[in-house]
């Protein structure tokens, strides 16, 4: 029977100099870190760079992790700050959804398949691409809240927000996602089913 080693145990082992513990932490969180990085920086190449930087920073500052929050919250805070640094350095003119011109254009994916399985896949893909079209803050907060199941308190820690600000941002992110889905993915979402739609 496979036994899952807890994050705390892996951290202790890593701090004691065990190289395999570092590797296991990377393997365990590479998809989470990469996905969140991708939500922020919007392209895979930069996301790889940011994700690698995150793990480097995680290793360097691991001794500072005192366990007063969840390890994932601490890790995602590193992802958020690393991604923001990356954006500030490389893309100071990044556009938000509030801007008139959107840089991303969508290809026509064709009509959705009749089967419900494929339809769900289509909706999933549409949702995925719609999130990719959001600003990094909107995409980040939606990913953290719905996909990574971080509480609003934890999101406040990660993104350095007040509770009311986090609530407002989450609400606006949902509304913008709805708007993107209705505008660009009518076929998959049919308007009234978009998240946040009345």
């Amino acid at each position: 029977m496979a036994v899952t080693i807890s994050d705390e145990t892996l951290i202790q082992q890593a701090l004691a100099g065990r190289q395999s513990a570092y590797a296991m932490l990377v393997k365990r969180y590479e998809k989470y870190v990469f996905t969140l990085a991708l939500r922020f920086v919007k392209n895979r190449e930069d996301a790889h760079e940011v994700a690698q930087d995150c793990f480097m920073r995680m290793f360097r500052y691991m001794a500072d992790f005192r366990g007063d929050c969840k390890f994932t919250t601490w890790l995602y805070k590193i992802v958020y700050s690393t991604a923001l640094n990356h954006l500030r350095k490389n893309k100071p003119d990044i556009l938000s959804l509030d801007d008139d011109v959107r840089p991303l254009t969508l290809k026509d994916e064709g009509a959705p398949d009749a089967s419900s399985e494929l339809e769900r896949d289509d909706r999933n893909a549409a949702l995925h691409r719609a999130i990719a079209m959001l600003s990094h803050d909107d995409a980040g907060i939606l990913t953290l809240f719905y996909l990574y199941e971080q509480s609003l308190d934890e999101i406040c820690q990660i993104m350095d927000l007040s509770m009311s600000n986090a609530k407002t941002k989450l609400c606006r992110a949902r509304q913008r996602l709805k708007s993107v889905l209705e505008t660009n993915f009518q076929a998959e979402y049919g308007g009234q089913h978009a998240p946040g739609a009345r």
Binding site: Q19, Y22, A23, V26, K27, E30, K31, Y32, F34, T35, L38, R44, A47, H48, A51, Q52, F55, M56, F59, R60, Y61, R123, N124, L127, H128, I131, L142, F145, Y146, L147, E149, L152, K167, L170, C171, R174, Q175, H193, A194, P195, G196, A197, R198
Partner: protein
């Protein structure tokens, strides 16, 4: 009061997300009981929430973890290399300390060997060499030695501070 309450879609989302306060939650629940059409909307929202939480994670390119580990190994080597002289300073201080502790013993042994026992008679008790510690303390050897050790300890301390700062800058 409750009759004036008007449920909005955003509020229903907040309710589904579990981020409403106790009073707001109560109002929404009462409203939902009175308005079954909103219950259907709530079910829809819960389905959409499920979709949002079921988006598959993106996988990095194959070999990503190996590259991270290689970068980490390289960084550790770099950090070690960025702290040259650490070992030789410690060894030198240890050597000076050992010499300082052993020096009086060596002096005593040398003094004892220079004695000339049994020169006139066949039997005599060798004299026990007596060190004049006050003279030793006032000697330039002791004074400069002490200065030397103090200087090394100070340098070692400064070296630690500089290394720590350099490391902190690298990590920042």
């Amino acid at each position: 009061m409750e009759n004036n309450f008007l449920l909005t879609d955003d509020m229903l989302w907040d309710y589904a997300d579990g981020i409403l306060s106790g009073a707001e939650k109560g109002q929404v629940e009462a409203y939902l009981q009175r308005n079954p059409e909103w219950q259907a909307r709530l079910r829809l929202i819960l389905g959409e929430k499920e979709e949002l939480s079921a988006i598959p994670l993106e996988a990095p390119n194959p070999g990503f973890a190996d590259r991270v580990m290689a970068a980490w190994a390289a960084e550790r080597v770099k950090i070690k290399a960025a702290a040259p002289g650490k070992d030789w300073i410690i060894r030198l201080i240890a050597l000076v300390f050992v010499l300082f502790v052993l020096a009086p013993a060596v002096v005593m042994v040398v003094a004892a060997l220079q004695l000339s026992p049994a020169e006139e008679s066949g039997f005599s008790i060798p004299e026990i060499p007596v060190s004049e510690w006050s003279a030793a303390v006032q000697s330039p050897f002791f004074t400069y030695g002490l200065l030397f050790v103090t200087a090394f300890i100070t340098l070692r301390f400064l070296d630690k501070i500089v290394q720590h700062r350099r490391l902190a800058q690298q990590l920042a």
